[in-house]
Symmetry: C2
Subunit: 109 residues, 2 copies
Amino acid sequence: MGKQMTEMLKGTLEGIVLALLTGKAAYGYEITTLLREQGFTEIAEGTVYALLVRIEQKGLVDVEKRPSEKGPPRKVYTLNAQGKTELNEFWNTWSFLSERLEQLRKEGN
Amino acid sequence: MGKQMTEMLKGTLEGIVLALLTGKAAYGYEITTLLREQGFTEIAEGTVYALLVRIEQKGLVDVEKRPSEKGPPRKVYTLNAQGKTELNEFWNTWSFLSERLEQLRKEGN
DNA sequence: GCTTGGAACTTAGTGTTGCTAAGTACCGGT
DNA sequence: ACCGGTACTTAGCAACACTAAGTTCCAAGC
């Protein structure tokens, strides 16, 4: 979708990944393919890995290394308590923004 | 709302301003107060002016200088044809993202 | 045995964006 | 003459997604 989407993903992609991790741990490569299945076909692999490093450093996820049969060891990410809190705040922020925008769209204006 | 909102506004603030300009020309200071009335109380003045310069350079708006009784001359921005096209694309991008996120939220997951 | 290809992750550098902070210009009221 | 509100500008910063190139590990092919 291009440049607009790139900019719009700033601030939302982190929330999307946190949401994907709710109830189901996953590793980077897996998350990338999940995103692509969800329609985010243009998200670069490097972007996802960088994001994962970031949320790990922020302490939003726990990490566990597990061997893979097909390649180098996987880093499996699990949402922890702090991550759930962050995800909640994300949904709040999103709701606020979403409501304003839908209103603006209705006004046509 | 803090840092999350700051990041989420990247990519959406431009669309919001373009939407505000639909059908009604406005100048910078006015747009800032409009945004605040709409609930975006934390958006910095400088941010809005910088954005206006940007969309002018992109050719999305036409600008006209009009004297003010209360201060320096106002720069009045009007959405032009190219701006309307951009706004349409913005709504498309927004719709896509919005649908994905609502689905994610529903899944709970 | 060696190479190819896919799985899985890493790193360095770039551009865009919103924010902070400070400033300038103009005017009315006290 | 000064202050506060209007209105706009500018320089520097931080965060984020992207590009591009790389590294590691293993299985299957010739």
